[in-house]
Amino acid sequence: MNNKEFDNIFNDCLERLLIKGESLEQCLAHYPEQAAELKPLLETALAAREASTIQPRPDFRARARYQFQAALKETAAGKSRTSWGWFPRWATVMAIVLALVLSGGGTVFAADSSMPDSPLYSVKLATEQVRLTLTPSQIAKAKLCAQLADRRVAEIAYMADKGDVEQVEILTRRLDEKLELLVVFIEGRGGIHLPGMMMAPPQEEAAAPPATYEAPPPTEDAASPPVAMTAPDKGWGGRDDSTQNGNRHELRNTLVSDAASNRAVLRAGLDDVPESARDALRRALAVSEEGYEEALDALE
């Protein structure tokens, strides 16, 4: 028998063993003359197959998924637009300045991609609230709410991967709030003093930053800019009908895409997360689906 023939026999045995699920003995029975030579090789192949049990660490998988999702959205929206893209330049500067005052140092940028288990997460939430307040128009606020809802979904997936049911539930409530706020802005009901916009985070959000960093929770006094700083609310841009229709159309496309990708992310998580976190993740999925549906209805 030449090498080529043996290569084929060996491959056939591998297919039987690894795909068809035959036992080693069954495989060898097909080639009794080569059994002695095949047996140790097939045993080694089974050992190599053991390497297929390697799994990425849950922490890494969740963080990677979050980063990839962020990159995906940025690419889809066009390279010119960054995650601050919906935000007017002057407001971005003000938000950073305010957040720096609140948090100190250069933590804001690092905080932007932090997760709920990070010391910087409270900075992230504070920065988001400042951004939301300083965003002048209803349409821009609605778009920002959509971005923030996206973040919450990624965080839910991350914490569910870690099996942290309590955090998943907290984040689900935050997601629900953001999606409700989104509807408010879509319907043009958003004033400067919307509930939840500039209030300090709920107790659990500010409650337990690790000892290494303790960012002060944003307060009404500290975080709210003077009313004069806020540009007049122009509703859906305060422009002509065609501009308004264009904005609504653009937002609708964004929400359709977000709803689908977030559904995919949360559903994918159901297969991977610890059993204990699955019910919480299912609730998050339900909140996400319902929230996006309501937002899309509001756009009709």
Binding site: D7, F10, A47, P56, Q67
Partner: protein, 189 residues
């Protein structure tokens, strides 16, 4: 390993998925990501022998694929071949930077004194396999990695490597023989 041959329906599904991803359909790309993430991770882990370093490289593969998916063209090759080529290039760059070289098996192993039968009876863990895989030649490691950790068929491996199926089968055979020798020596030490 995957089912022996991907049906035309599966191929069409993947083609449709990739075309949607090329049009920046986020859900389509998310599906591709979920489908291949673990496989690419395992492929890289076995190639470089370091599960932690493999994490960053895996993520980079997907970010690179996101940036360049618009350049992908269907030319009869499966999408996986394109994705694994990106992963392969990522690994090559990484190893070049680390200046890590593979020591040829024949130069490092004593030819006698091992006891393969005894070794085979011992339980082999993943770390041993990873360590042993470092001693294979690049081509052998590529085949073992694609076949046994990424679960590609012989035909798919041939596409990824740009080799004939016969050549892949030969490398599969020589790779397993070499792996067995390394594992035998390791376990007897």
């Amino acid at each position: 390993m995957p089912p022996k041959a991907a049906g035309s329906c599966q191929v069409q599904d993947e083609e449709s998925l990739v075309r949607r991803a090329q049009k920046h359909d986020q859900e389509a790309f998310a599906q591709i990501y979920e489908e291949y993430f673990d496989k690419i991770y395992r492929y890289i882990t076995l190639k470089i022998g370091d599960a932690v370093e493999a994490e960053d490289l895996t993520q980079q593969v997907f970010l690179n694929s996101l940036r360049s998916i618009s350049s992908f063209r269907w030319k009869g090759k499966p999408f996986s071949a394109w994705l694994y080529r990106i992963a392969h290039n990522q690994v090559v760059d990484f190893l070049r930077k680390k200046k890590r070289t593979t020591v040829p098996l024949e130069e490092t192993l004593a030819s006698g004194g091992d006891n393969p039968q005894l070794a085979a009876e011992r339980k082999l863990d993943v770390e041993q396999v990873l360590a042993a895989a470092r001693r294979l030649t690049d081509a052998q490691r590529e085949v073992i990695s694609l076949r046994f950790t990424s679960e590609l068929s012989i035909a798919q491996v041939a596409e990824v490597m740009g080799k004939s199926q016969g050549a892949v089968k030969a490398l599969q055979h020589s790779g397993i023989v070499a792996l067995r020798r390394v594992l035998s020596v390791t376990q007897n030490e």
